[in-house]
């Protein structure tokens, strides 16, 4: 019963859904139950609390937030690892909660995943050829020759050439940047429509980061791939995605095109994040950075109203600490969940 009301709400608040979205996140809640002594309910960790957005073919969005804001829980729910408490992830019009085993297997061939730590993500006892062959075997590519052809193509695309030289190597024999390319090749080998990249460059050296970001961007353009790029580093976002969603304490608090967000950041939390991101400049030495006081709230008992209000320097008493702010549209494609923008 509650499902139908949710769907109608979503349709009311987001009439733009007209174009068929590849992935539609609808009022998603992911709560983890806390138990006392292994049983007995002791509350919920509200890791994701009411997140909605649509993603179309060929679109890249970045989800930015600090650790513990729920971005990994959101990602794992999209990958079908966590089950939603409320709301749903809808892929190509099919809700994930209704998937059976076969559907899930098909879904996993449609969605690629690039992990944060490439060394941890590659099995140390398998050669690169085995690593890349495994998904093809699982997803029923019977012919050995076809598997090899696809491996060559995938490695060629991530610029791991000459391919023959890398195939018999083990992950520890190649550099971190090359490991990350193998992870990307593995994510791409089943020709997915959607790629989820969880901090794909945070473990890499500055000199390699740009290379990997550019590679991902190239793949995205060549394959009309939708990409969800999860990161805490705002400075890399603008080199990669069109849209940016800022997450705080389980909610998306600002959605905008990247350029709009950097030109006109609106939520006080976004302003704080931007202010704390430094560019290399000798002047920085003489200035202290402005940082909001305190730490992100506990997701077990998040503050009432706007979750940022205890740290916010523009808090409106009686409003921000009482009611949860809805999304206000302040310019086309730019939405802010903050009471300061009520009149606009």
């Amino acid at each position: 019963m509650s499902d139908t009301t949710q769907v109608s709400e979503v349709i009311q608040t987001a009439p733009v859904v007209a174009r068929d979205a590849l992935l539609s996140i609808q009022d998603l809640h992911v709560w983890f139950e806390l138990r006392r002594f292994g049983f007995g309910h002791a509350g919920y960790v509200r890791a994701v609390d009411g997140v909605s957005f649509d993603l179309h073919n060929g679109e890249a969005v970045a989800v930015v937030g600090e650790s513990g804001c729920g971005k990994s829980s959101l990602m794992k729910t999209i990958l079908g690892i966590n089950t939603p408490t409320k709301g749903d992830v809808v892929y190509n019009g099919k809700p994930l909660t209704g998937f059976n085993r076969a559907d899930l297997k098909w879904y996993r061939s449609q969605v690629g995943y690039v992990q944060q730590d490439p060394y941890g993500a590659l099995p140390p006892f398998m050669t690169i050829q085995n690593i890349l062959e495994e998904p093809l075997i699982i997803h029923g590519v019977k012919s050995k020759q076809e598997r090899l052809d696809r491996i060559y193509k995938a490695l060629d695309e991530v610029k791991m050439t000459p391919v023959d030289e890398f195939l018999p190597k083990f992950p520890h024999m190649i550099s971190g940047g090359q490991q990350q390319r193998i992870v990307i090749a593995r994510a791409m080998i089943l020709n997915p429509k959607l790629l989820v990249a969880d901090e794909p460059v945070s473990m890499l050296d500055a000199s390699v980061r740009v290379e990997i970001l550019r590679l991902l961007r190239g793949l995205q353009e060549n394959h009309d791939l939708a990409v969800i790029y999860i990161t805490h580093d705002l400075s890399t976002v603008r080199y990669f995605s069109e849209y940016i969603f800022v997450m705080y304490a389980g909610e998306i608090i600002e959605k905008a095109r990247v350029d709009d967000l950097i030109r006109n950041p609106s939520h006080p939390y976004t302003l704080a994040l931007l202010a704390a991101t430094s560019d290399p400049d000798a002047k920085n030495v003489d200035e202290f950075q402005e940082v909001p006081p305190g730490e992100p709230p506990s997701l077990v008992n998040p503050p009432a109203g706007c979750r940022f209000h205890p740290r916010c320097n523009r808090m409106i008493p009686g409003v921000c600490d009482v009611d949860r702010p809805p999304e206000f549209t302040i310019e086309p494609d730019h939405k802010v969940a903050c009471w300061l923008f009520k009149d606009e």
């Binding site: 050296d205 950097i262 202010a275 991101t277 430094s278």
Partner: protein
């Protein structure tokens, strides 16, 4: 030089024995540091930054092959000291370190207050009560609530643990603190907080810092001078102003153009290829194979030349 010098390293070398040969992790490093100055050492992973920090503090692993050169601290050659004198008079008293991933380097079964108090008891022989009092003032200074003194490491957030590790390095009021990647595992806002804290400490208690990092943007928050390391050698030392606008060495130029920036539209570039193996580093300039400006002379070892009070190890400037 007329300026007072706190620390000077000359031809510092630290080689390790490995199964495939000798790894020349730190290969003839020279630099100096003035009191209350912060120098940032930047470079790719594996270029010898952390090994150099360990060489300065003589925190050596067992597989050392060569450990040579001179390190002068306040004019005294600390390389000549025996182990006991070094431990008693230098380590933690004059020179302290915040190790990489310091937040995970706290002892999980000791209260954080006791860990911060320990150096005072060991080095200055004060009673436990006095040391704990001292730890409390340190906690205030680094912005950790004083009642956290009885907590364990797992009860603190990452940022708080990092502050505790910084408090621990500062407790015996050393002249020099070496920070190895102090903010790399932290969130943006926490990073900004820690950098603010270090700036304040630098003003208040006139400490010198050696900051080792690969995050060039964040390093600009603290750097008075910048040293760039490549394949075990320092290739450029420059003041912050000129380094961040006009780096000299081709490697520094490439490194700076690979830094993503929030507030400019500069097109990013990356350095193709990989740093050379430190087991048998190439003769001549070690960056030559990746350098867009290489020429015949680069096959020979480049000298370190001083250009306008900046040092650069490159044939282009001779």
């Amino acid at each position: 030089m007329a300026e007072k010098i706190l620390l000077r390293a000359e031809n510092l070398k630290l080689y390790f024995k490995a199964s495939k040969g000798v790894v020349q992790a730190v290969d003839g490093v020279d630099f100096s540091l003035a009191p209350n100055e912060a120098i940032v050492i930047i470079g790719e992973s594996g270029c010898g930054k952390t090994s150099m920090a360990k060489a300065l503090l003589r925190l050596l692993p067992r597989n050392v092959d060569t450990y040579s050169g001179s390190i002068y601290l306040d004019g005294e050659d600390i390389m000549a000291m025996d182990e006991e004198k070094f431990r008693r008079d230098v380590r933690w008293v004059k020179m302290a370190m915040v190790p990489q991933a310091a937040m995970n380097s706290l002892n999980p079964v000791l209260r954080v207050g006791d860990q911060v108090a320990e150096p005072m008891m060991v080095h200055h022989g004060v009673s436990k009560e006095a040391a704990l009092d001292h730890a409390k003032t340190m906690f205030q200074r680094v912005g950790v609530p004083v009642d956290f003194i009885n907590r364990y490491a797992f009860e603190l957030s990452g940022g708080m643990r990092q502050r505790v590790a910084i408090a621990m390095s500062l407790v015996a009021v050393p002249d020099l603190v070496i920070l190895d990647e102090p903010t790399s595992a932290l969130d943006v806002l926490t990073q900004a907080n820690i950098m603010n804290l270090l700036k304040r400490v630098k003003k208040e208690i006139a400490t010198s810092f050696i900051l080792i990092t690969h995050d060039i943007s964040t390093s600009s928050e603290l750097a008075d001078r910048v040293a760039v390391m490549y394949a075990g050698q320092i290739v450029e030392v420059s003041d912050n102003n000129r380094f961040f606008t006009r780096p000299l060495h081709p490697y520094s130029v490439a490194l700076m153009s690979s830094v993503p920036r929030l507030r400019s539209n500069a097109v990013l570039d990356f350095i193709s290829g990989q740093p050379p193996s430190l087991i048998n580093p190439p003769t001549g300039c070690r960056f030559a194979a990746r350098c867009p400006k290489r020429f015949d002379k680069c096959a020979q070892e480049p000298p370190t030349v001083t250009v306008d009070r900046r040092q650069v190890k490159c044939w282009l400037y001779t």
